[in-house]
Symmetry: C2
Subunit: 412 residues, 2 copies
């Protein structure tokens, strides 16, 4: 949690944090500013001191609203610095960085850097800064770095924001179900009044509209994939596909708060009207494994143990799993879940990248999303909820929604 | 343009381009893949050869749809690499990168890197790769790098996509004007049927909804700022503010294609019902300068000359300008414009960062957005259109919309 930041910096021997970039769609900056319309800012936090936000003067009111200590970047835009840099804008930028650090009393130590900006910029500026300040050690540690570690466990305010996104998400899923159930059927497909097929692109457009109505953003699109597409976990679906009865539809929706805030992640698999025997059998396997895993989740347990467990459970039901073949494309082919927060995918990891420190610590919010994929047979099934590992030891699904496979349709 | 890429690589002595990250909200990857639902991919282009896209196997269909040469990242996920890296995931990642380069025949030369991912990752991986491959020189050149230089001039397909976003943008602006003009007025404010004030937050929600209906995305929010907020160029406005008649409203809207594609950028300043004399006078100054600059734009001219010219024109009308005081907060306080494309702000630059190579070359799409700001007097005015420097030498505004200041309202 954010309140652990100084402690995490000490444990990892980090003296300074530097975050660069906008305050939206940039999780570390959003996390430390609370989100704001800052198109470009710099934030420096020295261990034991509150963070300082360096803002563009055109954004002074937005910066002030963050409630952080602030400084005006224009104070570092001097002609003197440009002259010192012989007109080289990158050198001027790095001299500016050095002066900002100096004004914060930083001349040496270990500094961790963050911020979602283009690698061409971050690599240039921070390698130049490293050369300019050899007493300072710039580190780009990844999962174990202080900010990302703090972000892994959520405080109650963050959980309530994720829960609110869960409510919006399930409301939109409900609207989508109602829409599909109320359409006419002809020749084994959902059709418009004029008999023309309803296509996946139209359904996605409605989903986007309902999300916008609810004040949510959908920066990474929605998966609404039928048939063979449903058999490929990240296939988003083919816009021109009609909605054929009886085939599996994987509907994976992961919106965030407007302005690049907290995400929710949710999947259901539906068959319109009826399910084929093979779809029904796969669904029952996935649902049984989902329920078994949910029963077995324990605070503090290692995530990769559950990945092994889900492979064991699917293997016992006769499915090939990624545990035995990392390149597997039919069967159980991905990881059981991942953390969610300001990133749609963040720690803890459950799959190949999971380390010993990827655990279900109190405060973690994560997905549980077993699935089975048989693209060559034209189907796939995934069921997913987002779960909060509560401080009281309970595992709570943050938004309820029926897990039924078959979605009734109007016949005739 | 994209077709210049090999030539630009040669001119800048770059042998290899490496792009990392997702294919949405990541301009260099979007540019080279055409946009796709790739949550993480790597792309390598060797000079004189077509780019190769390395994809996550769960996204194989999305990768195939790009039409690029593709390779499966799973082929680089071997246990052998993990062992070589002694279980260090960053080392494993960098060994993987080395092997990918090796498979492309790259062992030395100059490689430019790109991709909007967190600096902690890009810095870690590319500094480690640089140490591992000393014969390779990794460069993070910024504005002058081959991809960003190629992106600066748009081909006709790109211009048509920006134009289509301009049409959506002006349609939404028109709906907003119609909405405001059709509301009741009471006590000098727009009000609901029940007499309660209509607030800026409600208007912004409608704007988001209309953008979503039109299939656009709004990743960087909208500026809809009244009174003193309108006097601060990047203030997005205060949600709880009522819509008071006679005050300036700066409405700056910059949506992009869904999935993180091309942007449009557009600003009007409105006064509801009537304008105060001071607002009217500022508006006339801004409009006159806008028209004068539009008349003077010439293909191939240096952008910073126009920044100097606009300062000269505003100074002649009695306003302080940023040319004489870079920290100025009242008067003409920002730059005349910027390029637009897959970034809302990209080259060419007009302001302090502009270099000799920032020119209005044929194919550039850029904004012209003079403005005057007097926050202490509670107002600001900005007028902005997006302009295409056409190959035939003409300067074309890509979406028409009236520039009127006063928006009529229903009285009574």
């Amino acid at each position: 949690m954010k309140s652990d930041l100084d402690m995490l910096m000490e444990a990892r021997d980090v003296d300074v944090l530097w975050v660069t970039g906008p305050a939206f769609h940039n999780p570390p900056m959003y996390y430390l500013t609370g989100g704001a319309h800052l198109t470009h800012a710099e934030l420096i936090k020295v261990r034991g001191q509150p963070p300082v936000l360096f803002y563009n003067p055109m954004e002074r009111d937005e910066a002030a609203r963050t409630g952080l200590c602030t400084r005006n970047l224009a104070e570092y835009q001097s002609d003197e610095l440009s002259k010192l840099a012989n007109g080289n804008p990158n050198k001027a930028q790095v001299l500016r960085y050095q002066r900002m650090l100096s004004d914060m009393g930083v001349h040496a130590g270990r500094m961790a850097i963050y911020g979602r900006i283009d690698a061409s910029r971050s690599y240039t500026w921070f390698t130049m800064l490293q050369k300019l300040m050899p007493e300072l050690t710039i580190v780009g540690e990844i999962d174990d770095s202080p900010i990302f570690s703090a972000m892994t466990t959520k405080d109650e305010i963050e959980v309530e924001r994720i829960r609110a996104m869960g409510k919006i998400t399930t409301q939109v899923v409900g609207k989508t179900a109602d829409f599909l159930s109320s359409q006419r059927v002809h020749a084994g497909m959902l059709v418009h009044q004029d008999g023309s097929p309803i296509r996946i692109g139209e359904v996605k457009k409605l989903i986007n509209l309902w999300l916008a109505e609810a004040g949510a953003e959908n920066p990474e699109e929605t998966i609404f994939a039928i048939g063979g597409d449903a058999g490929v976990p990240h296939s988003t679906g083919t816009s021109s596909d009609p909605l054929r009865l009886g085939e599996t539809i994987v509907f994976d929706i992961f919106p965030c708060e407007a302005g690049g805030g907290y995400f929710y992640d949710f999947t259901r698999t539906w068959c319109l009207g009826y399910a084929s025997d093979v779809a029904q059998a796969l669904y029952e396997d996935v649902l049984a494994v989902y329920q078994q895993i949910m029963d077995e989740l324990e605070i503090g347990a290692q995530c990769r143990a559950y990945q092994e467990r889900v492979c064991e459970l699917f293997a016992a039901r006769g499915h090939a799993t990624i545990l035995h073949d990392p390149k597997l494309q039919e069967g159980y082919v991905h990881s059981l879940g991942h953390g969610i927060g300001l990133n749609i995918h963040e720690r803890p990891w459950f799959g190949r990248n999971a380390s010993e420190s990827d655990r279900l610590d109190a405060g973690v919010v994560f997905t549980v999303e077993p699935g089975l994929y048989y693209p060559s047979r034209g189907l796939g099934v995934r069921l997913e909820n987002s779960v909060w590992a509560r401080p009281d030891g309970k595992m709570e699904v943050l938004a309820d929604f029926p897990m039924d496979l078959v979605l009734p349709v109007r016949q005739g």
